[in-house]
C-alpha cells in the first residue's frame, strides 16, 4: 500500500523539476492567479456523473476516515486526550517500520500489529515519564512522540533500501494517491480495496463504540466510579488507544499523520459546540464527516490542491460556522435572560 503512495509523490516531484528549471528566478504571477476560475462542469457536475467511478469512491473514503476518527475523537475530547491523539498519530511510524523489518512485508497484518504496539507503547511511555518524575503530562507527551517519530524517520533512512515506506507519505498521505486501481468484488459490488479496508475499520470502530457505549461513557466521565463498577478503566483506556492506532494507520494513506489530527478533533469539537448530549454529538460528528468530505473533495477539485487538505479546510469551515451559531445562541440566551 505504502510503496505505491511513495511513488506517486516522487512522480510529482520529477514533474515539478522541469517546471522549476523554466521559471526559477522570474516570478511574475500575482495573487489573483492563485485561485483558479470556478469551473462548474469540472468541479460540480463531473464528480457526480462521468467521474463518479473515481470521485464517488474518494468521497466515500474521506467520509469513512473522518467518521472513524470522529467517533473516537469524541471520546478523546471527553477524556482530554486530544493531544495524545496527536502523539499517537506520529509515534506509530516506528511501529510500521519495525513491523516491516520483522515480517519483511507491508501487508495489512504486520502494519496493524506494529502500529497497535507502537500506540500502546506511546501511552505506556507517557504515563511512565509522567508518574515517575516531576515532568508534567504535556512535556511527557511531547518527549515521547517526538522521540519515537525521530526513531521512525531514522529507521526509514537507515533501511531506505529495504523499506518501501516513505516518511513523507506517512506525513502527507493524499486521497488521490490511494491505489484506486486495486479492485475487489464484495457481495457483487466491485470496489477499490482501500475503501473496503477502511470500511471494515470504520465498521469495527462504530460497532465497538456502540457496543461499549456505556463503559466508555462512564469511564470517561468518572474513572473511579467505573472501577467501582468493575469496568476496568485501564483496560478500556488501552483498548481505546489501540483502536486509535488502528484508525490512524488505516487513515495514513489517505490523509497522513498530521491531517489525521484534524479528522480526530474537528468533528467532535464541532458537535460539542452545538450539543451537550453525547448521542447527539455522535450524530452531529457523522454529519460533519459527510459534509466535510463532500464539500472538501469539490473544494480540492476547484482549487487543485491536496484533496485531504481540502477536506480539512472544509471541516474547519464547518467548525467556524458552528462556532458562529453557538456564539449567536449564547447572545440570544443573554438577551432573553437580560430582559427577564
Amino acid at each position: 500500500m505504502m510503496a505505491l503512495c511513495g511513488l506517486g509523490v516522487l512522480g510529482q516531484a520529477v514533474g515539478l523539476n522541469g517546471r522549476l528549471a523554466a521559471t526559477e528566478a522570474v516570478v511574475t504571477g500575482g495573487m489573483l492567479d492563485l485561485i483558479p476560475a470556478f469551473d462548474w462542469q469540472k468541479v460540480v457536475v463531473a464528480p457526480w456523473t462521468v467521474d463518479i467511478g473515481l470521485y464517488g469512491w474518494m468521497m466515500l473514503m474521506a467520509f469513512l476516515v473522518t467518521t472513524a476518527c470522529g467517533l473516537i475523537g469524541n471520546y478523546l475530547l471527553l477524556r482530554r486526550l486530544a493531544l495524545v491523539g496527536d502523539a499517537i498519530s506520529h509515534s506509530v511510524l516506528p511501529g510500521l517500520v519495525a513491523g516491516f523489518l520483522i515480517f519483511g512485508s507491508l501487508g495489512i497484518g504486520p502494519m496493524l500489529v506494529g502500529a497497535v504496539l507502537a500506540g500502546v507503547l506511546t501511552t505506556v511511555l507517557i504515563e511512565l515519564i509522567h508518574s515517575h518524575s516531576r515532568v508534567k503530562a504535556d512535556a511527557a507527551i511531547g518527549i515521547t512522540f517526538c522521540s519515537l517519530f525521530a526513531l521512525g524517520v531514522l529507521l526509514i533512512n537507515v533501511y531506505a533500501g529495504q523499506v518501501h515506506l516513505d516518511a513523507e507519505c506517512v506525513l502527507y498521505g493524499e486521497l488521490s494517491h490511494v491505489p484506486w486501481a486495486e479492485q475487489v468484488t464484495v457481495l457483487g459490488v466491485s470496489m477499490p480495496l482501500p475503501v473496503l479496508v477502511m470500511g471494515v475499520a470504520t465498521g469495527i470502530v462504530a460497532l465497538l463504540t456502540g457496543l461499549f457505549y456505556k463503559e466508555l461513557l462512564i469511564s470517561s466521565f468518572d474513572a473511579g466510579l467505573a472501577a467501582a463498577f468493575g469496568f476496568r478503566p485501564r483496560v478500556i483506556h488501552y483498548t481505546l488507544m489501540a483502536m486509535l492506532s488502528l484508525v490512524v494507520v488505516a487513515a495514513f494513506e489517505s490523509v497522513g499523520a498530521i491531517l489525521v489530527i484534524a479528522m480526530l478533533i474537528l468533528p467532535g469539537a464541532t458537535a460539542q459546540l452545538l450539543s451537550t448530549r453525547l448521542p447527539v454529538c455522535f450524530g452531529l460528528s457523522v454529519a460533519h464527516a459527510a459534509l466535510s468530505s463532500v464539500l472538501g473533495v469539490h473544494l480540492g477539485l476547484w482549487l487543485g490542491c491536496s484533496l485531504a487538505a481540502a477536506v480539512v479546510v472544509a471541516g474547519t469551515g464547518l467548525f467556524g460556522l458552528a462556532w458562529g451559531v453557538s456564539l449567536m445562541g449564547r447572545r440570544r440566551v443573554e438577551i432573553e435572560s437580560g430582559s427577564a
Binding site: R134, R330, V333, E334
Partner: protein, 261 residues
C-alpha cells in the same frame, strides 16, 4: 477614631463579574476603612476569590468601578499587595524560597531593573519575621503547606504595601501556622495596614477580624464584626444550607443575648 476625610482603603461600587456568561458577582458595593482587619466570608461559590481577583484587575469587570485609597489601581499599585491561594501556584517550579520572596520586590524595581542588596535584605527580614529564614535556599516543593503559606506572607511583607488582599491564607495550614499568621496580621493592623482576608471558617471568623463582609453574589452585610455576625445575617448569607451554621448560629444567638461564652 476613623477620619472622615480619609478615603476608604478599598471601595467597590456596583461591581458585576461574570464567568462564562454566568454572573458570579452582581452589583457589589463595599467600602473598607483604612486600618481594619476584615474577613470576607460566604458559602462556597459565593464569589469571594472572584471579588478579590476582580478588585486586583485579574478578572474583567462587567460594570462598576474599584478604587484603592480613593484612586484607581494603576496609580497606587505599590500600596496594594495581593496574596493568591496556595493552589494557584506550581510548587514544583524551579525557584528557591528566597526567589519567591524577592518577587515581592519586583513592583518596587520598576521595569527592567534587578533586585539589589537592599531588596535582599528586605526579603531576609521578611523571612525572619515569619520564621522561615533557615529555609531560604530550599526549593519550594520541599515545604509543608503551612511553610508555603508563610513564604507567601513573607513575600507580602517584602512588598511593603498598605493594603493586602489575601485569598484563603488559612486553607490547609496547621494550627501553629494559623496562629502565627493571625498574630502577624494583627500586628500589621496595629501598624496601620489594611487587610482583607477571604475566610471560610465561621467558627474563627469572629475572633480574628474586627470587620466582616458577608458575601453571596451580593454583599449581604458589611461592617464591624459585632454588628454583622448575627444569626439572621449569617442565615441570609448561607441560606441555611450549611450544617455548620446551626452551631455557629446558636453561638451567635447566645452572644446576641449577651451571654458570656
Amino acid at each position: 477614631m476613623t477620619n472622615n476625610e480619609m478615603p476608604p482603603a478599598l471601595e467597590l461600587h456596583d461591581v458585576s463579574v461574570s464567568y462564562h456568561k454566568k454572573p458570579v458577582l452582581y452589583g457589589v458595593d463595599m467600602a473598607l476603612p483604612a486600618g481594619s482587619l476584615a474577613g470576607l466570608i460566604g458559602p462556597n461559590g459565593a464569589g469571594k476569590s472572584t471579588l478579590i481577583k476582580a478588585a486586583m484587575g485579574l478578572l474583567p469587570v462587567h460594570s462598576g468601578w474599584v478604587k484603592f485609597f480613593g484612586e484607581p489601581l494603576e496609580g497606587v499599585r505599590k500600596r496594594v499587595g495581593y496574596v493568591p491561594q496556595r493552589e494557584e501556584v506550581d510548587w514544583d517550579f524551579p525557584v528557591s524560597v528566597m526567589d519567591v520572596v524577592l518577587m515581592g520586590r519586583y513592583g518596587h524595581l520598576g521595569w527592567l531593573r534587578r533586585p539589589g542588596k537592599a531588596d535582599r535584605r528586605v526579603a531576609e527580614e521578611s523571612l525572619e519575621k515569619v520564621g522561615m529564614l533557615p529555609f531560604r535556599d530550599r526549593q519550594i516543593s520541599n515545604l509543608s503547606g503551612g511553610q508555603q503559606q508563610r513564604v507567601f506572607l513573607a513575600r507580602a511583607l517584602a512588598q511593603d504595601s498598605d493594603l493586602y488582599l489575601m485569598d484563603e491564607p488559612f486553607a490547609g495550614v496547621d494550627a501553629a501556622t494559623e496562629k502565627a499568621i493571625i498574630t502577624l496580621l494583627k500586628e500589621w493592623r496595629e501598624k496601620g495596614k489594611t487587610i482583607l482576608v477571604v475566610h471560610h471558617d465561621l467558627t474563627t471568623a469572629r475572633d480574628y477580624y474586627d470587620r466582616l463582609v458577608l458575601l453571596n453574589m451580593r454583599v449581604v452585610a458589611s461592617g464591624p464584626t459585632a454588628d454583622v455576625f448575627t444569626m439572621e445575617l449569617l442565615q441570609k448569607t448561607y441560606g441555611g444550607r450549611l450544617t455548620i451554621l446551626s452551631d455557629v448560629a446558636a453561638e451567635a444567638q447566645r452572644a446576641e443575648d449577651g451571654v458570656k461564652i
